[in-house]
Subunit: 401 residues, 4 copies
């Protein structure tokens, strides 16, 4: 039979080593910083140290090709490894598979020229530098609806001039370069054409305006608002071809959406384990908490949500790996998993009671981290709208029941 | 990579032929009888005719071995074919893969002696006869909790005498034989030992007391209460070995639970298609229904529930096929799918409005059919309790997070 | 303090007498017919007998004025009495406060001429005749969206000629008269004007085409499709004034929506009591069901839904009684209560297990009855749409937060 | 009719003045500090200034009697005023009706001696000092289950010596006095007897061990862990009588639970208004957000949750005011409102998208604030357990349906 869920031995071993690395190396650091490097003055040192240990363990950037130091894992392989990495909030950072760098590596590997790969991908995959992806704009610019893109790039002598404003740009502060989406044809409101540009972090035309004080802290360097003001780049800053930016964005977004699911699934499993550790040791009303029916219901619902999330991720990964149209599958996975992860962490907090809302456990940190996932990479409403439209269109094609 | 979801060509072809058979042969009959043969005087004729057509099409009883006329589909193969069959309420009957016969064939194939197989399995697989499975008892007997089993079998000269009462015995009326679970050691309340007996339908000690007027009509001949009163059987009526009945019940129940999921998933897909047919052709407030956001949300939620259900079924099927411990997986699948199917059909009815609550569509029939699935084969509460206990026990084994 | 929830003594006594009447007189009949008079050949006799007993007990039609034999209960008074009546599926019929007659009495009392009241209201309130309300039309006619009204009335010598088709007309079969909504100006799609006509049941221009086989059986005589074909009526058949029909529909609908809530709340309470009777007497896994945490959760959620439903009904009743704008309040109450009642009955069925899905308890009947309530009198989606529009409009008026 | 929901004119005027005070005085401060005084060095100054303004406006501590500077509002009166105050996170602090001071005033007004009232209640009601309530203990001490109380008070010459440990003690840091619950008879695990003691903030036997870093910031001075080590108090430190502490806790808890509901309902309304401000001004995919069906559904669900919460609060307030048994009513209100408020704020955040998860709106602060409310003052599970037990016991008393 063709349908199967087992891992080939080499991958199983990698998963196991990742699990041990997270447990032995990463979690102690996570506990020490209470899950957040956000205000840690030595955040960059910690990042470098963790990545050095991952490199030594042969675990760094396993999704990129071997020539860039990785293992060329396909999407299904990523699913199992990234879930293990996600078991700690710092795990993805340690393995250099965190957003936005992970998705940027994916994009550069597929679209960049050899020279661009040497210049940008090589140090990024090695953890020597960080990057950011500048697409989202403040209203009325591009958010859920990419057609609203207002940042524009105009031809100038020897290159392009980019002007506009972006926000929620993850990792912008300290990034060695940005991949910037700018309109090169059409006008805001119609689709037109967009182009991706590689902009060096020290380009004086790109300035960080401010940092957004968001609920989440896990993504390194947080989220910033960035202004492009007469930001001039040379022709070789173009990633891929002019006016094909929306197309490349899809190359990046569908898998990036799914790698988010993988990492957060790992964190949901951790939250569930933290709750289990609590309810198997605490008592109330003369019973061990884990033996009370309403607690058992929450445990079971967590297991159901974990299993359904994992199955949907694996199925979507297989569609992506085999070149199928992953549009519906990835929207379904993203919507279900982002909501399931939220439910799991919320139940875990409820099971741990007051202490779970405090800094004594990591749950209150996790609870903040996972909430935005129902919004970024397309809010649930946008994905449901897209799923419904495809469902209707597919129904019309195949005829009535 | 090992993880994959594609069907081998032969299976894909079988799925396609099943789909066409359901569409061309079965659905017209279903529409004519409005989804219920319950009060049809010619129900038995219809059953025989549909099964004859399935046999001619090479689709009858595909789950049993070739020597019994089937194709020996493994559980993953069943998943795809049974879902197609379930697309019509009469599909499983037509293919002879309906409960309880399908599960009884499975059990007889694994546990019965060659003579028993010749006597019972052969005509059952061929659709010449029907059967029933007599386990559930009225309170305070065996329901969710098998330890409460009160029907008892005592040794008599040359055989056994069975006394007790069973209810919700599906297909008892007209069954050629029953597989009867009776206590052969211990007492109600402790586990003790149970034995399975093959009892001929014309045994005077087995009497149908009454038919239960249940919500559902799809299972042929409905559900009856049956009395065993000095029901004497010979030694060769024992299925398997004495006192191993609980063990055989597991052989039957875990896959039977999953085949229910497969069939109902097909029906949920049909309900969704019926709703799509409605919302793509009706208007309100100047818009096509399918273009209203609240309808789109229901369409999307149906697609999500369908996809998650299918993924969980396939994963559990793989666990069963590869001999893994399917306890948690099948409890998770049963709980999720039974609830998801209920949500899907409910949303489909809501999308179709008043007409969906009437006999003009099949939805109101489907809505009644799927509700008991959250109760039989273990109510959601019992499965959640079991999932939670295994979750806690697994956590204790692997140590703290 | 002005806010209060206590009943004045006279009303409290009426509530108590209603409760006893339901328990002693109505429930025995309900049990005998298993909650459905639908196929009972003596249904009309039973109706007359129950109503005679209610009249003797001083409980008949308590919502109409004393001159029509009632007590002139205001909406808050109805809330308490109707909930008690609803505790049995036959209670509202026994008290002559069932849809559509109850709403028709309300409308006739407010809009009809004295002569019309004598002719139509008097015998209706006394239970001598039944009536129906013919508004809903098959697609593409008036459903959730009244502007789609296609049935039209045209002036002819000495009166009007009505042509069109209606469906889901509750109680049409055997009704002494119908209140018919027909377009008298404008065209389908715009609002235009509608007029209400009183049409005698024996008018040869009004014919029942067929009965719809719906999920529910509780509303007497079920739901029919009705054809108006050259249905000629005199001028005095006009109820109120020409072209004011949409306005009168509101007079009828907002309170009618709420009286549905009251009656179904009573039935939900009954379902909950049936579940309590089960779980307080049955055991599983060595515990009384009522002591298992997952059952307790369902019990508690039922109590919460019952309490919230009742509070919303009372608040809306007060708004209606004091002449406030009950638009939002009644949409909120209808949406919440219809969904809460569905949840309560569903949980009650789940708590009672397999037996609850059979005819042995009344729950499987109740479960079917309450489902359409989420659709008729405006589906949840239409009410949510209306609530949202009013919320936005109110926000715009009062300015930003 | 007796049931009514209108406010007497004097109360309506007070509500209106509160609304304006919140809008004009409090919200500007809230916006300036982004909803949190937690890390503000001038927090105490802000508190004093806001309370001085409230006093000048005649709005300070309206729930205490006139002799303590308040208005002696009954619980229903509090419901309307506290909801208005809760419309800003700082509103309850400004009006001196925040937990734990508000509940402590309530308790002191009912149980303290005149001398104790003069010493403790007078300055507390005037906002000159703050207080705390020390009941909850770290495991295995008293949490949801008060019988686990381990902090003990033993008789010593001229008074009592208290030893033990408390945590999640809101407002302990800087409190002028604590009301401390200590066991004076029995042993942990049985109920025994507890006594309440008034302990001065500068008693050297009471020490703050640490502050808990919780999700919420709104309660002034946060939550601390407190150690009682040879904490000696005189006899006149006893609040009420020896061994009646559990009883007094009920005097405090049932209304305190409800005043939480009132304040959080106000905040939920604010969150909803913040979302409305967003969706009525932003566009996506060519539509104003407020006109998209999935957004409208969220708006409507918020309105439904707001209305149901308010109705349940008012009903429970009436039960408390009229001396009824508010046990079930207050558990129902607490469970429903705490969950509804969580849903409302979560939907509001979802409607505002990425910006709602950032500090640019107050929503991300509100979202953190309301989560613990499902846990403190009894987690939902404990209340559901209590509701179910009372439901069963009431059913047994009144007999079968």
């Amino acid at each position: 039979m063709a349908i199967r869920f087992d891992l080939e031995p080499e991958l199983a071993a990698l998963v196991q080593r990742t699990r041990e690395f997270i447990r032995d190396v990463v979690i102690p650091v996570e506990l020490a910083c209470k899950g957040s490097l956000h205000d840690a003055p030595d955040a960059e040192d910690i990042r470098r140290r963790l990545q050095a240990e991952a490199r030594a363990a042969g675990l760094l950037a396993p999704h990129v090709g071997e020539r860039w130091g990785g293992r060329g894992l396909d999407v299904r392989g990523q699913a199992s490894v990234f879930e293990e990495a996600g078991y700690s909030l710092l795990g993805p950072l340690a393995l250099n598979i965190s957003a936005p760098d992970e998705g940027n590596m994916h994009l550069l590997e597929r679209v960049a020229t050899p020279a661009q790969q040497q210049q940008y991908l090589a140090p990024l995959a090695a953890g020597q530098v960080r990057s950011c992806f500048a697409m989202t704009e403040p209203p009325p610019g591009a958010g859920s609806d990419p057609r609203a893109l207002t940042t524009a790039a105009a031809r100038v002598a020897g290159g392009w001039r980019i002007d506009g404003r972006k926000w929620f740009i993850t990792g912008a502060r300290g990034a060695a370069f940005a991949i910037v989406m700018a309109r090169t044809s059409g006008a805001p409101g119609d689709r037109g054409g967009a182009t991706m540009f590689l902009v060096a972090g020290d380009n004086p035309g790109m300035q960080i305006v401010r940092d957004l004080d968001t609920l989440d802290h896990a993504l390194f360097a947080g989220h910033s608002e960035v202004r492009f003001d007469h930001c001039v780049v040379a022709d070789d800053a173009i990633l891929g071809e002019v006016d094909r930016g929306f197309e490349y964005a899809q190359v990046r977004l569908a898998p990036a959406r799914l790698t988010h699911c993988m990492r957060w699934l790992g964190l949901a499993r951790r939250a569930h384990d933290l709750a289990l550790a609590h309810v198997t040791t605490r008592e109330a009303f003369g019973s061990r908490l884990a033996e009370l029916g309403m607690v058992q219901q929450q445990i079971a619902d967590n297991e159901i949500d974990l299993a359904a999330s994992r199955s949907l991720i694996l199925h979507t990964a297989w569609v992506l790996d085999t070149g199928g149209d992953a549009g519906t599958a990835s929207s379904i996975a993203k919507t279900f998993v982002s909501e399931a992860v939220g439910r799991i962490v919320d139940r875990a907090m409820q099971m741990t009671g007051a202490v779970g809302t405090s800094g004594d456990l990591l749950l209150s940190r996790y609870w903040r981290e996972v909430r935005p996932f129902r919004i970024y990479d397309g809010p649930s409403e946008t994905h449901r709208w897209s799923i419904a439209k495809r469902s209707v269109s597919s129904f019309k094609k195949r005829g009535h029941a």
